[in-house]
């Protein structure tokens, strides 16, 4: 099961690399989103997928699954959410101010004409 999830994570990271190497700002942002999802899958797999009971203190349960990767996962999801939202706002501002969403044209020192 872990091997399967790791392969899925690898495919997602590969897809995100393809998206981030394209020239459109929106594709790049979607690429960062998929990258973080792939890496979160890896993080989840690293604690071992569900093997025991839920991690709540109970004398009858002998084996618990590891709660720590799930806690870390939630933290990273929240952070990624905030980052993606802010990045989309910046992308809109870049498009409005510089008049392009092509990263090839985001070079050099742009002229301030206001």
């Amino acid at each position: 099961m872990e091997i399967l999830i790791i392969i899925v994570a690898g495919i997602m990271i590969g897809a995100s690399v393809y998206l981030m190497l394209s020239k459109s700002l929106i594709r790049i942002i979607i690429g960062t989103g998929i990258l973080s999802h792939g890496i979160l899958l890896m993080l989840l797999t690293m604690g071992g997928l569900k093997r025991g009971g839920i991690p709540v203190l109970d004398d009858s349960v002998q084996q618990y699954s590891d709660p720590l990767p799930q806690a870390m996962l939630l933290t990273v999801i929240v952070i990624t959410f905030a980052l993606t939202a802010y990045m989309l706002v910046i992308a809109i501002r870049v498009y409005r101010e510089l008049g392009t969403d092509n990263v090839e044209e985001l070079k050099g020192v742009p002229r301030e004409d206001d």
Partner: protein, 497 residues
């Protein structure tokens, strides 16, 4: 008291930031007052922490009373305490400098709260004892830095801000990946606990070399080491001077601190690979930085490339991981925070006064600003490491350590880089302050007493830092001890606080 003490450096600016947000956009004067009072308070707290750590040793708080390897611990050893102190001093100077330089529009749009949140994140990254918590604090100060780099919305800021954003998001994602690998290999997130487990482990630890490479990719991107510095000159060039100062003086140093901490605590198994890699990248960083520092005639670019040279020198000291090298590296690290802040301040003053940043269009300023001119010369000598200014002692220790360990070529490159640094900064001094006088009627009629206050404060602290090197030596010895003798960092797990 000791329970709350280690948390204060991150808590105080955080609360100040929330208060500033609550004040709202209308009262800029109140923003200034709260921000500078927070700076002062931070300086007092960090002086107290340094004195406390010097007297009683490392100070530890287990947040929420969870025992050490399970909960998050906040650990301040001497290295973290000194960095927090330097951060506090630079914060106050930047806040005061901003009064007359950042402009009312940016001040209204929550400039000071963002500075406060960023300082909170930086202090958190310095003081935390937990690797995942360090990631969270990295995100805290990076999010504030994304806002600061685009604040104002000029074209260059948006364009370079987006690239800065993208590079750092990718690096942060890989930070999570490295933590995931580390967790699966070691099964702990507390840095001292990881060290203890790895030190007690005598099987095959070659997976740690892989983690070392991933971690190096992450922190080298943040710090601006050789192959990953490509974003740094462009992005740091975009924002206004006070923001650029706090980026150049502090943000890259957090990356260096993280490399030092992680490489001393985790990767002591295969140092032939990991630390050699660090050494090679450091030397290449110095070379690339030197080329950039000579190539440009824009003052901002010259100093930005000087950041790279300093990063390379500090990392070279850290890569040696012996007593001599790490003492030199910690001393040079603190020195570089002050000197870079001072130089950025002085150059910012020249840019705000003349409206030009190209040294070929400036000249003869010493007739109008003699004191500033000589201060700039002192700062330039300090950066290059002319004795008895502090850059000299740091480089002396690092180069001695390099030669002792048989890295002749690296040592010679570090020494030669001093000449390049001296040349690049003296070139600014000669063509801006000496030379043919520019048209003085074009000077902007700005008020600049606070700009000069911050600049001179930094230069004076830097000079005092150099003359007090003998007096400060015990502090840096104990700061470096947690790097070259990582077992001394993890003693708090044994319950002997």
């Amino acid at each position: 008291m000791t329970d709350i003490l280690p948390i204060l450096p991150m808590l105080v600016p955080f609360i100040a930031g929330i208060i500033l947000l609550a004040i709202g956009r209308t009262n800029v004067f109140l923003h200034r007052v709260v921000a500078s009072l927070t700076g002062l308070l931070l300086i007092i707290i960090s002086f107290f922490i340094v004195a406390y750590v010097a007297r009683y040793g490392m100070v530890v708080t287990h947040v929420g009373n969870w025992e050490a390897p399970f909960g998050i611990s906040v650990v301040i050893d001497m290295l973290a305490a000194l960095l927090v102190l330097a951060t506090a001093i630079v914060t106050l100077a930047v806040v005061v400098y901003s009064f007359q330089s950042i402009g009312a529009a940016r001040e209204k749009f929550f400039y000071y709260p963002m500075i406060m949140f960023m300082i909170s994140g930086i202090n958190g990254a310095f003081t935390t004892g937990d690797i995942f918590n360090m990631f969270v604090f990295f995100e805290v100060f990076l999010l504030s830095s994304y806002v600061l780099i685009t604040l104002g919305g000029t074209k260059i800021q948006l364009q370079e801000g987006f690239k800065y954003f993208l590079v750092n998001i990718i690096a942060s994602n890989f930070f999570v990946l490295a933590v995931a690998y580390l967790y699966s290999a070691v099964g702990s997130l507390n840095m001292a606990d990881i060290h203890n487990k790895l030190a007690a482990f005598d099987g095959d630890a070659s997976i740690m070399s892989l983690i070392a490479v991933v971690m190096l990719f992450v922190f080298a991107t943040k710090a601006g080491l050789f192959p990953f510095y490509f974003w740094l000159p462009g992005s740091y060039f975009a924002p206004p001077m006070p923001i650029m100062t706090i980026f150049g003086a502090l943000l890259t140093k957090v990356g260096v601190y993280a490399i030092a901490r992680v490489y001393s605590l985790f990767f002591m198994d295969n140092t032939g690979l990991t630390h050699q890699m660090l050494m090679l990248l450091a030397v290449l960083t110095i070379i690339m930085g030197s080329i950039g520092a000579i190539a440009y005639s824009d003052m901002k670019k010259i100093i930005i490339y000087n950041i790279l040279i300093a990063i390379g020198i500090i990392i070279a000291g850290i890569a040696m991981m012996d007593e001599m090298g790490t003492i030199g590296a910690t001393y040079y690290l603190i020195h570089d925070i002050f000197i870079k802040a001072g130089l950025f301040f002085l150059i910012g003053f020249i840019i705000y006064r003349t409206g030009e940043s190209d040294i070929t269009k400036l000249g003869g300023l010493i007739k109008i600003h003699p004191v500033t001119g000589w201060m700039f010369l002192i700062a330039a000598f300090g950066l290059a490491g002319v004795p008895p200014l502090p850059g000299f002692y740091g480089k002396l220790f690092i180069v001695t350590s390099l030669f002792e360990n048989g890295h002749m070529i690296s040592g010679i490159i570090v020494l030669l880089s001093s000449l390049v640094v001296l040349y690049s900064v003296i070139r600014i001094f000669i063509s801006v302050f000496w030379g043919e006088s520019m048209d003085f009627t074009k000077l902007k009629p700005i008020s600049y007493d606070k700009l000069l206050f911050s600049s001179f404060l930094m230069v004076i602290i830097m000079v005092a830092f150099g003359f007090g090197a003998d007096f400060l030596y015990p502090l840096f010895d104990s700061a470096a001890q947690s790097l070259y003798d990582p077992a001394s960092y993890s003693v708090y797990l044994l319950g002997v606080e």
